[in-house]
Amino acid sequence: MSDIAERVKKIVVDHLGVEESKVTENASFIDDLGADSLDTVELVMAFEEEFGCEIPDDAAEKILTVKDAIDFIQSNSAS
Protein backbone atom coordinates (compact mmCIF):
# COMPACT_ATOMS: atom_id res chain seq x y z
CA MET A 1 0.00 0.00 0.00
CA SER A 2 1.36 3.38 -0.98
CA ASP A 3 2.17 6.08 1.54
CA ILE A 4 -0.61 8.28 0.16
CA ALA A 5 -3.16 5.50 0.55
CA GLU A 6 -2.13 4.97 4.16
CA ARG A 7 -2.35 8.64 5.00
CA VAL A 8 -5.77 8.93 3.32
CA LYS A 9 -7.07 5.93 5.25
CA LYS A 10 -5.75 7.29 8.53
CA ILE A 11 -7.60 10.58 7.98
CA VAL A 12 -10.81 8.68 7.20
CA VAL A 13 -10.44 6.50 10.29
CA ASP A 14 -9.70 9.49 12.53
CA HIS A 15 -12.43 11.68 11.14
CA LEU A 16 -15.29 9.23 10.82
CA GLY A 17 -14.35 7.12 13.83
CA VAL A 18 -14.70 3.87 11.88
CA GLU A 19 -12.68 0.68 12.18
CA GLU A 20 -9.61 0.52 9.99
CA SER A 21 -10.70 -2.78 8.49
CA LYS A 22 -13.80 -1.12 7.03
CA VAL A 23 -11.80 1.52 5.20
CA THR A 24 -11.16 -0.46 2.03
CA GLU A 25 -10.31 1.25 -1.25
CA ASN A 26 -13.78 0.71 -2.64
CA ALA A 27 -15.60 1.87 0.48
CA SER A 28 -18.02 4.74 -0.16
CA PHE A 29 -17.78 7.48 2.47
CA ILE A 30 -21.54 7.91 2.63
CA ASP A 31 -22.91 4.44 1.87
CA ASP A 32 -20.33 2.28 3.65
CA LEU A 33 -18.68 4.49 6.25
CA GLY A 34 -21.66 6.42 7.58
CA ALA A 35 -20.51 9.88 6.54
CA ASP A 36 -23.05 12.65 5.99
CA SER A 37 -22.61 15.34 3.34
CA LEU A 38 -20.92 17.70 5.79
CA ASP A 39 -18.45 14.95 6.74
CA THR A 40 -17.43 14.65 3.10
CA VAL A 41 -16.74 18.40 2.98
CA GLU A 42 -14.61 18.06 6.10
CA LEU A 43 -12.74 15.06 4.70
CA VAL A 44 -11.84 17.07 1.60
CA MET A 45 -10.62 19.90 3.85
CA ALA A 46 -8.49 17.41 5.79
CA PHE A 47 -7.03 15.93 2.58
CA GLU A 48 -6.15 19.42 1.34
CA GLU A 49 -4.35 20.15 4.56
CA GLU A 50 -2.51 16.83 4.78
CA PHE A 51 -1.31 16.86 1.20
CA GLY A 52 -0.89 20.59 0.63
CA CYS A 53 -3.09 20.59 -2.44
CA GLU A 54 -6.28 22.35 -3.42
CA ILE A 55 -9.27 20.20 -4.35
CA PRO A 56 -11.67 22.30 -6.42
CA ASP A 57 -15.41 21.95 -5.77
CA ASP A 58 -16.15 20.09 -9.00
CA ALA A 59 -13.41 17.55 -8.25
CA ALA A 60 -14.48 17.26 -4.62
CA GLU A 61 -17.99 16.27 -5.71
CA LYS A 62 -16.55 13.28 -7.54
CA ILE A 63 -14.60 11.98 -4.56
CA LEU A 64 -17.08 9.42 -3.28
CA THR A 65 -14.86 6.51 -2.25
CA VAL A 66 -11.51 6.04 -0.55
CA LYS A 67 -10.02 5.11 -3.91
CA ASP A 68 -11.37 8.31 -5.52
CA ALA A 69 -9.51 10.32 -2.89
CA ILE A 70 -6.26 8.39 -3.29
CA ASP A 71 -6.40 8.66 -7.09
CA PHE A 72 -7.04 12.39 -7.03
CA ILE A 73 -4.26 13.06 -4.57
CA GLN A 74 -1.80 10.81 -6.40
CA SER A 75 -2.27 12.76 -9.60
CA ASN A 76 -2.45 16.24 -8.03
CA SER A 77 -0.41 16.23 -4.85
CA ALA A 78 2.74 18.23 -4.23
CA SER A 79 3.90 15.91 -1.48
Binding site: L38, V41, E42, M45
Partner: protein, 247 residues
Amino acid sequence: MFDLTGKCALVTGASGGIGAAIAKALHAQGATVALSGTRVAALEALAAGMGGERVVVTPGNLSDAAATEQLARDAEAALGGRIDILVNNAGLTRDQLAMRMKDEDWQQVLDVNLTAAFRLSRAVLRGMMKRRFGRIIAITSIVGVTGNPGQTNYAASKAGLIGMSKALAAEVASRNITVNCVAPGFITTAMTDALNADQKDKLLSAIPAGRMGEPAEIAAGVVYLASDEAAYITGQTLHVNGGMAMI
Protein backbone atom coordinates in the same frame (compact mmCIF):
# COMPACT_ATOMS: atom_id res chain seq x y z
CA MET B 1 -21.87 34.58 32.48
CA PHE B 2 -21.39 35.57 28.85
CA ASP B 3 -17.59 35.69 29.11
CA LEU B 4 -15.98 35.99 25.67
CA THR B 5 -12.34 36.02 26.76
CA GLY B 6 -10.13 34.49 24.08
CA LYS B 7 -12.80 34.70 21.37
CA CYS B 8 -12.20 36.62 18.14
CA ALA B 9 -15.04 38.51 16.46
CA LEU B 10 -15.56 40.29 13.15
CA VAL B 11 -18.25 42.99 13.13
CA THR B 12 -19.29 44.50 9.80
CA GLY B 13 -20.80 47.97 9.62
CA ALA B 14 -18.97 48.80 12.82
CA SER B 15 -18.93 52.54 12.15
CA GLY B 16 -22.73 52.70 12.45
CA GLY B 17 -24.61 53.21 15.71
CA ILE B 18 -25.66 49.60 16.26
CA GLY B 19 -22.42 48.14 14.84
CA ALA B 20 -20.28 50.27 17.16
CA ALA B 21 -22.37 49.26 20.17
CA ILE B 22 -22.03 45.58 19.23
CA ALA B 23 -18.25 45.90 18.83
CA LYS B 24 -17.93 47.63 22.20
CA ALA B 25 -20.12 45.09 23.97
CA LEU B 26 -18.24 42.07 22.58
CA HIS B 27 -14.97 43.77 23.50
CA ALA B 28 -16.18 44.53 27.01
CA GLN B 29 -16.92 40.81 27.50
CA GLY B 30 -13.30 40.01 26.65
CA ALA B 31 -13.38 39.31 22.91
CA THR B 32 -10.80 40.55 20.43
CA VAL B 33 -12.70 42.48 17.78
CA ALA B 34 -12.08 43.33 14.12
CA LEU B 35 -13.99 46.42 13.03
CA SER B 36 -15.09 46.52 9.42
CA GLY B 37 -16.80 49.19 7.38
CA THR B 38 -16.06 51.67 4.62
CA ARG B 39 -15.45 54.79 6.74
CA VAL B 40 -11.90 54.16 7.87
CA ALA B 41 -11.55 57.33 9.98
CA ALA B 42 -14.68 56.45 11.97
CA LEU B 43 -13.41 52.89 12.50
CA GLU B 44 -10.02 54.17 13.67
CA ALA B 45 -11.73 56.55 16.10
CA LEU B 46 -13.89 53.73 17.44
CA ALA B 47 -10.83 51.50 17.89
CA ALA B 48 -9.03 54.30 19.76
CA GLY B 49 -12.12 54.82 21.93
CA MET B 50 -12.04 51.13 22.82
CA GLY B 51 -8.54 51.56 24.19
CA GLY B 52 -6.65 50.21 21.19
CA GLU B 53 -6.08 46.79 22.75
CA ARG B 54 -7.75 43.64 21.46
CA VAL B 55 -9.14 45.66 18.57
CA VAL B 56 -8.13 45.88 14.91
CA VAL B 57 -9.51 47.78 11.93
CA THR B 58 -10.17 45.82 8.73
CA PRO B 59 -12.04 47.99 6.21
CA GLY B 60 -13.92 46.37 3.35
CA ASN B 61 -16.43 47.16 0.63
CA LEU B 62 -19.21 44.60 0.88
CA SER B 63 -20.80 45.50 -2.45
CA ASP B 64 -17.85 43.86 -4.19
CA ALA B 65 -17.48 40.05 -4.18
CA ALA B 66 -13.68 39.98 -4.31
CA ALA B 67 -13.36 42.67 -1.62
CA THR B 68 -15.74 40.73 0.62
CA GLU B 69 -13.67 37.53 0.29
CA GLN B 70 -10.55 39.60 0.93
CA LEU B 71 -12.10 41.11 4.07
CA ALA B 72 -12.64 37.62 5.49
CA ARG B 73 -8.97 36.79 4.89
CA ASP B 74 -7.74 40.15 6.24
CA ALA B 75 -9.84 39.90 9.38
CA GLU B 76 -8.79 36.31 10.04
CA ALA B 77 -5.13 37.25 9.66
CA ALA B 78 -5.51 40.36 11.85
CA LEU B 79 -7.22 38.28 14.54
CA GLY B 80 -4.39 35.78 14.70
CA GLY B 81 -5.85 33.21 12.31
CA ARG B 82 -9.34 32.69 13.66
CA ILE B 83 -12.84 34.16 13.55
CA ASP B 84 -15.04 32.62 16.24
CA ILE B 85 -17.86 35.13 16.04
CA LEU B 86 -19.12 36.77 12.85
CA VAL B 87 -21.63 39.58 13.19
CA ASN B 88 -23.19 40.46 9.84
CA ASN B 89 -24.42 43.89 10.80
CA ALA B 90 -23.65 46.03 7.74
CA GLY B 91 -26.73 47.25 5.99
CA LEU B 92 -27.99 50.10 3.90
CA THR B 93 -31.35 51.43 2.75
CA ARG B 94 -32.44 52.76 -0.64
CA ASP B 95 -36.09 53.45 0.15
CA GLN B 96 -38.56 53.96 -2.65
CA LEU B 97 -42.05 52.83 -3.53
CA ALA B 98 -41.84 49.59 -5.47
CA MET B 99 -43.38 51.17 -8.54
CA ARG B 100 -40.58 53.71 -8.66
CA MET B 101 -37.71 51.53 -7.48
CA LYS B 102 -34.80 51.15 -9.87
CA ASP B 103 -33.13 47.80 -10.40
CA GLU B 104 -29.85 49.14 -9.05
CA ASP B 105 -31.48 50.24 -5.78
CA TRP B 106 -32.95 46.78 -5.38
CA GLN B 107 -29.70 45.05 -6.26
CA GLN B 108 -27.39 47.19 -4.15
CA VAL B 109 -29.44 46.60 -1.00
CA LEU B 110 -29.60 42.84 -1.66
CA ASP B 111 -25.86 42.72 -2.44
CA VAL B 112 -24.69 44.45 0.73
CA ASN B 113 -27.34 43.33 3.22
CA LEU B 114 -27.78 39.71 2.14
CA THR B 115 -25.23 38.45 -0.39
CA ALA B 116 -22.22 39.83 1.50
CA ALA B 117 -23.51 38.21 4.70
CA PHE B 118 -23.66 34.88 2.86
CA ARG B 119 -20.16 35.29 1.42
CA LEU B 120 -18.65 36.16 4.79
CA SER B 121 -20.47 33.29 6.49
CA ARG B 122 -19.19 30.85 3.87
CA ALA B 123 -15.66 32.17 4.27
CA VAL B 124 -15.53 31.82 8.06
CA LEU B 125 -17.18 28.39 8.19
CA ARG B 126 -14.06 26.47 7.24
CA GLY B 127 -12.19 27.54 10.36
CA MET B 128 -15.27 27.22 12.55
CA MET B 129 -15.84 23.63 11.35
CA LYS B 130 -12.26 22.74 12.13
CA ARG B 131 -12.36 24.28 15.59
CA ARG B 132 -15.83 22.89 16.28
CA PHE B 133 -17.02 26.27 17.46
CA GLY B 134 -18.68 29.21 15.80
CA ARG B 135 -21.26 31.93 16.22
CA ILE B 136 -22.75 33.60 13.16
CA ILE B 137 -25.17 36.39 14.02
CA ALA B 138 -27.05 38.52 11.50
CA ILE B 139 -28.62 41.83 12.38
CA THR B 140 -31.90 41.72 10.55
CA SER B 141 -34.92 43.97 11.17
CA ILE B 142 -38.49 43.91 12.34
CA VAL B 143 -39.26 45.08 8.81
CA GLY B 144 -38.08 41.74 7.43
CA VAL B 145 -40.94 40.10 9.31
CA THR B 146 -43.70 42.74 9.23
CA GLY B 147 -42.96 44.56 5.97
CA ASN B 148 -42.90 48.33 5.55
CA PRO B 149 -44.00 50.51 2.65
CA GLY B 150 -41.10 51.96 0.67
CA GLN B 151 -38.76 49.16 1.72
CA THR B 152 -39.40 46.20 -0.58
CA ASN B 153 -35.66 45.85 -1.14
CA TYR B 154 -34.67 46.29 2.51
CA ALA B 155 -37.46 44.03 3.81
CA ALA B 156 -36.54 41.33 1.28
CA SER B 157 -32.88 41.48 2.30
CA LYS B 158 -33.72 41.26 6.00
CA ALA B 159 -36.22 38.43 5.53
CA GLY B 160 -33.57 36.75 3.41
CA LEU B 161 -31.11 36.87 6.30
CA ILE B 162 -33.61 35.07 8.51
CA GLY B 163 -34.16 32.29 5.96
CA MET B 164 -30.46 31.99 5.21
CA SER B 165 -29.65 31.73 8.91
CA LYS B 166 -32.19 28.95 9.44
CA ALA B 167 -30.85 26.90 6.52
CA LEU B 168 -27.24 27.40 7.56
CA ALA B 169 -28.08 26.64 11.18
CA ALA B 170 -29.45 23.26 10.11
CA GLU B 171 -26.32 22.52 8.09
CA VAL B 172 -23.74 23.18 10.78
CA ALA B 173 -25.48 22.63 14.12
CA SER B 174 -23.71 19.28 14.59
CA ARG B 175 -20.37 21.09 14.57
CA ASN B 176 -21.23 23.33 17.52
CA ILE B 177 -21.76 26.32 15.24
CA THR B 178 -24.89 28.36 15.85
CA VAL B 179 -26.49 30.76 13.40
CA ASN B 180 -29.01 33.28 14.68
CA CYS B 181 -30.51 36.69 14.00
CA VAL B 182 -31.23 39.74 16.11
CA ALA B 183 -34.11 41.83 14.79
CA PRO B 184 -34.14 45.42 16.06
CA GLY B 185 -37.30 47.51 16.08
CA PHE B 186 -36.84 51.29 16.16
CA ILE B 187 -33.46 52.14 17.62
CA THR B 188 -31.96 55.62 18.13
CA THR B 189 -29.33 55.85 15.38
CA ALA B 190 -28.47 58.21 12.55
CA MET B 191 -31.00 56.27 10.45
CA THR B 192 -33.89 57.12 12.80
CA ASP B 193 -32.59 60.61 13.76
CA ALA B 194 -33.63 61.64 10.28
CA LEU B 195 -37.32 61.26 11.21
CA ASN B 196 -39.26 64.43 12.10
CA ALA B 197 -41.16 64.92 15.39
CA ASP B 198 -44.50 63.96 13.83
CA GLN B 199 -43.12 60.73 12.44
CA LYS B 200 -41.50 59.94 15.79
CA ASP B 201 -44.75 60.52 17.72
CA LYS B 202 -46.59 58.22 15.38
CA LEU B 203 -43.92 55.56 15.80
CA LEU B 204 -43.88 55.77 19.57
CA SER B 205 -47.63 55.23 19.74
CA ALA B 206 -47.04 51.82 18.12
CA ILE B 207 -44.40 50.78 20.66
CA PRO B 208 -45.82 49.39 23.92
CA ALA B 209 -42.59 50.23 25.76
CA GLY B 210 -43.23 53.89 24.86
CA ARG B 211 -39.70 54.66 23.74
CA MET B 212 -37.17 53.89 21.05
CA GLY B 213 -34.54 51.28 21.77
CA GLU B 214 -30.84 51.96 22.36
CA PRO B 215 -28.02 50.41 20.32
CA ALA B 216 -26.66 48.85 23.52
CA GLU B 217 -29.91 46.91 23.87
CA ILE B 218 -29.28 45.28 20.49
CA ALA B 219 -25.67 44.62 21.43
CA ALA B 220 -26.74 42.83 24.61
CA GLY B 221 -28.71 40.35 22.50
CA VAL B 222 -25.67 39.76 20.30
CA VAL B 223 -23.43 39.16 23.31
CA TYR B 224 -25.88 36.58 24.60
CA LEU B 225 -26.11 34.71 21.29
CA ALA B 226 -22.30 34.80 20.96
CA SER B 227 -21.76 33.33 24.41
CA ASP B 228 -21.21 29.72 25.43
CA GLU B 229 -24.45 29.97 27.41
CA ALA B 230 -26.43 30.23 24.13
CA ALA B 231 -24.93 27.04 22.66
CA TYR B 232 -28.36 25.36 22.35
CA ILE B 233 -30.01 28.26 20.52
CA THR B 234 -29.74 28.11 16.74
CA GLY B 235 -31.79 29.18 13.74
CA GLN B 236 -33.64 31.71 15.88
CA THR B 237 -34.49 35.37 15.56
CA LEU B 238 -34.36 37.42 18.75
CA HIS B 239 -36.72 40.38 18.44
CA VAL B 240 -35.64 43.48 20.34
CA ASN B 241 -38.38 46.01 19.71
CA GLY B 242 -40.11 47.14 22.91
CA GLY B 243 -43.11 44.99 22.11
CA MET B 244 -43.77 46.69 18.78
CA ALA B 245 -44.30 43.31 17.15
CA MET B 246 -44.81 40.16 19.18
CA ILE B 247 -43.98 37.24 16.93
